[in-house]
Amino acid sequence: MSKSPQAYWSATLRLISIVLVIWFIVSYVAGIILAPALNSIHLGGYPLGFWFAHQGSMYAFVAMIFYYAFAMDKIDHEFDVHEE
C-alpha cells in the first residue's frame, strides 16, 4: 500500500463517508423518513421510529464518534503520520 499523503487522505475520506452514511441512516432515515413505517415495530413500549428519534440516534452518534476516533488513530499509525 502506498504511504503517500494522497493515500492517507483518501483513507480518511473513506472513513468519514462511511460514518456519515450511518449518521444519516440512524437520524434522517430511521428517525424521520421511515419513522412512520418503523412505528409498527415495538421495542418494549417504544414504537421503533419514535425510539430512533428520541433515543437511538443519540446513542449511535456517541458510538460513531468513538469508532471514528479509534479508526482514525489506526489510519494515522498505518500511514505513519501520528503524533509522537
Binding site: 499523503p5 468519514i16 437520524s27 424521520i32 413500549g45 414504537p47 419514535f50 464518534i65 471514528y68 501520528h82
Partner: protein, 599 residues
C-alpha cells in the same frame, strides 16, 4: 429546613465553588486566556464542552417543549447532538492541528484575506450576541422563580459571578468552572428524573422507564399517554409532527450544521494538547451531553402524563375522560399547582363555570361535538413549557434539597453557556480585530489587557440586553443557528476539504449563504426583527419555500453557500502554493504544536 432555605443553600454553595475556582485559575498569558494553555485533559474538555453547549434553554425549556410537541420534538434532540458527529470528523481535529486561537483567524489565514477574517468576525459576533441574550434572560428567570428576587437583581448577580472567573481566568477559569457546572447541572437534572421514572414505572433508569409499563398495570406508559392525549383532542404523542416531514428534516439539519459551526463550541477544541485528543474529546462531550439529552424525552413524556393525570384523575383508572364529571375540582388542586399559579406559569380560567379544570385541545374540529356534550367550553388551563422541568421535583413530591439543586442546576446551565459565549466574543475582538487588523504589533501584556477589557464590555452589553431584552429575543436563536450554519460551517469545511478553494469563492459563499438566510428570516420576522417590516408578500407568503419555516432555513443557506463558493472558485484564480501546502499540513496530525497566537 424550608424549601426556600434549601434553594439559597444549594445556589450559595455552587457559587462559592465557582468563585473558589476563579481565584485558583487566574490566567497569566494569552495562551492561558484564550485556550487554557492548550493543556486540558480531553475528558475534562468534553465535560466543559457539554456545560458550554447545554444552555438555559436545554436545561429549563427543552423537555417542556418536547412534552408539548411529542415525537416532533426529536428535531431538537437529534439536531443538537448530531452536530457533534460533524464537528468531530469535519472540523475539530483539523482546526486543532492548525493551532491558532480563534475561528476567524483560521478563516483569515486559510483564505489569505483580512476581509474574510472580518466577515467571519461579524458572523461570530452576531451569532454569539443573539445567543447570549437568551442566557442572560435565563439567569434572570432562574433567579426570579427560585429565589424570589427580581429579574434585575438576578442578572446583576449573574454578571458579577461570570465577571470574576471569565475576566481574570479567561478560558482557563471558564474551563474549570464549566467542569464544576456540568456536575451540578447533570445531578440536578437526573435526580428528579430517576425518582419520577421510579414512581411511574418502577424502573430507576428514565431511558428505560420511558419504554416500560406503568407500575401495577400491563399497559405501556407511552401507549397510555397516546390514548389520553388523543382522547383530549391533541395529536398522538409518539407520532405528531410539526409542519411537514420535509420541514422536520431541514430543521434538524439546520440545527446540526449550526451546532458544528458555532464558534464558542469549536473554540473548546483548541484547549486540548493533541489532534488525537480533539477527536476523543468530541466523543466525550457528546457522552456528557447525551446523558441529559436522552433523559429529557423521559422527563417530557412522564411530566405530560403526570400533569394530565393530576387534572384528570380518571386517567389513572383508564375511565372516560371527556365527561361532565372530569377535570379535577379547582379547590382540590395540589399544592405545587397553587405555587406555580402564583408565578403565572400555570393559568386557570373557568370558562364553563363548573368549578373543574378542563385541559384539552379545543381547536380540534373533529372532537368538538364530544367536548360540547360533556359541557366543556374551551381549554381552561394554560401551561408554560418551562414548568415541566422546574416543577418536576414538586410534582414528584421530592424533598426540598432536590428543588434547591434544580435551581442551582438551571443557573449553572445558563452561566456556563454565557461564559463560553463571552470568551468567543472577547477573543474575536481582542485577537482578531485589535491584534489581527488594527494593531498587529501589540505585545502579549497589551493583548491580555485588551482581552479583559473586551470581556468586561461584552458582559456589560450582555447584561444590558438581558435587562432590556429586545422584543425579538425569542426569534434570535433561529438567527444564531442560521448564521453559524449558512456562513461559518461551510467556510471552515471547504477550507479543509477543498485545497483549491480560494478567497473569492469563500467570501462570496459566506456572504451569499448569510444573505439568503437573513432574507428569508427577515421576511417572516421583520427586518432586523423590527415589527411591521415583514415582507412576506415578496417571497410569496409564509414558509413559501417548500413549506420550510425560517428556523429551518439555515440548511438551505448552507447549500447556497457551497454552490456559490464552488461556482465563483471555478472562475477565479487558484489559491497560492503556500496556502495549498498549509491545507496539506492541516490534514495530517503529525507535527501538531502548542496553540499560539502568532498571525
Amino acid at each position: 429546613m424550608s424549601v426556600q432555605a434549601w434553594i439559597y443553600l444549594m445556589v450559595g454553595l455552587s457559587f462559592a465553588l465557582y468563585i473558589g475556582i476563579a481565584i485558583w485559575s487566574r490566567a497569566g498569558t494569552t495562551a492561558e486566556y484564550y485556550v487554557a494553555g492548550g493543556q486540558v485533559n480531553p475528558v475534562m474538555n468534553g465535560m466543559a464542552t457539554a456545560a458550554d453547549w447545554m444552555s438555559a434553554a436545554s436545561f429549563i425549556s427543552m423537555a417542556g417543549i418536547i412534552s408539548t410537541m411529542g415525537y416532533g420534538g426529536a428535531l431538537f434532540l437529534m439536531g443538537w447532538t448530531g452536530g457533534y458527529v460533524l464537528l468531530a470528523m469535519l472540523l475539530a481535529p483539523y482546526l486543532r492541528k492548525f493551532g491558532k486561537f480563534t475561528v476567524p483567524q483560521f478563516i483569515g489565514d486559510r483564505f489569505y484575506s483580512k476581509s474574510a477574517a472580518v466577515v467571519a468576525v461579524i458572523c461570530l459576533l452576531v451569532a454569539s450576541v443573539t445567543y447570549i441574550i437568551g442566557q442572560m434572560t435565563g439567569v434572570g428567570v432562574a433567579f426570579s422563580r427560585f429565589l424570589n428576587v427580581s429579574n434585575e437583581v438576578g442578572i446583576y448577580v449573574g454578571m458579577g459571578i461570570v465577571f470574576l472567573y471569565a475576566v481574570f481566568g479567561g478560558m482557563k477559569g471558564i474551563t474549570y468552572t464549566q467542569v464544576a457546572q456540568y456536575v451540578v447541572l447533570i445531578i440536578a437534572y437526573t435526580i428528579p428524573a430517576i425518582f419520577i421514572s421510579m414512581m411511574l414505572t418502577g424502573n430507576p433508569i428514565p431511558q428505560l422507564g420511558l419504554g416500560s409499563k406503568l407500575s401495577g398495570s400491563d399497559v405501556y406508559l407511552l401507549e397510555r399517554l397516546d390514548q389520553i392525549v388523543t382522547d383530549l383532542g391533541f395529536g398522538k404523542y409518539t407520532t405528531s409532527v410539526p409542519g411537514s416531514y420535509l420541514n422536520m428534516f431541514m430543521y434538524t439539519l439546520s440545527l446540526m450544521i449550526g451546532t458544528a459551526g458555532l464558534p464558542h463550541v469549536i473554540m473548546r477544541f483548541f484547549t486540548v494538547p493533541k489532534v488525537r485528543d480533539a477527536r476523543m474529546s468530541a466523543g466525550w462531550a457528546l457522552v456528557f451531553i447525551a446523558i441529559l439529552y436522552t433523559t429529557a424525552p423521559a422527563v417530557a413524556a412522564m411530566a405530560r402524563y403526570n400533569l394530565l393525570a393530576t387534572v384528570y384523575p380518571a386517567a389513572l383508572e383508564n375511565k372516560p375522560l371527556v365527561t361532565p364529571e372530569q377535570g379535577i375540582r379547582y379547590e382540590e388542586r395540589p399544592e405545587w399547582f397553587k405555587r406555580w399559579e402564583q408565578t403565572g406559569l400555570l393559568k386557570f380560567q373557568d370558562l364553563n363555570g363548573d368549578g373543574r379544570i378542563q385541559h384539552f385541545n379545543d381547536k380540534n374540529a373533529a372532537a368538538q361535538e364530544k367536548f360540547a356534550q360533556a359541557g366543556w367550553k374551551g381549554n381552561e388551563l394554560n401551561v408554560n413549557a418551562d414548568i415541566i422541568v422546574m416543577a418536576n421535583p414538586e410534582i414528584a413530591m421530592l424533598p426540598g434539597w432536590v428543588i434547591g439543586l434544580v435551581a442551582a442546576g438551571a443557573l449553572a446551565a445558563a452561566l456556563s453557556t454565557a461564559a463560553g459565549l463571552l470568551l468567543a466574543i472577547s477573543s474575536a475582538i481582542s485577537h482578531d480585530l485589535v491584534k489581527g487588523v488594527f494593531k498587529p504589533d501589540i505585545d502579549e501584556k497589551g493583548e491580555l489587557l485588551a482581552g479583559r477589557i473586551a470581556m468586561i464590555a461584552a458582559i456589560l452589553v450582555a447584561g444590558y440586553l438581558g435587562l432590556n431584552p429586545p422584543g425579538f429575543a425569542a426569534g434570535t436563536v433561529a438567527l444564531a443557528f442560521g448564521i453559524a450554519a449558512s456562513s461559518l460551517f461551510p467556510a471552515i469545511m471547504m477550507g479543509i476539504f477543498s485545497k483549491k478553494m480560494n478567497k473569492e469563492g469563500a467570501i462570496a459563499g459566506m456572504l451569499a449563504g448569510l444573505f439568503v438566510t437573513l432574507f428569508y428570516v427577515f421576511a417572516h420576522k421583520g427586518i432586523f426583527f423590527i415589527k411591521g417590516t415583514e415582507y412576506l408578500g415578496l417571497i410569496g407568503g409564509e414558509n413559501s419555500f417548500f413549506g420550510i419555516t425560517p428556523e429551518a432555513f439555515g440548511s438551505v443557506g448552507a447549500i447556497v453557500n457551497f454552490i456559490v463558493a464552488f461556482i465563483v472558485d471555478k472562475f477565479t484564480k487558484e489559491p497560492p502554493e503556500h496556502i495549498q501546502a498549509l491545507v496539506e499540513n492541516v490534514r495530517t496530525p503529525r507535527g501538531s504544536t502548542a496553540i499560539t497566537g502568532a498571525h
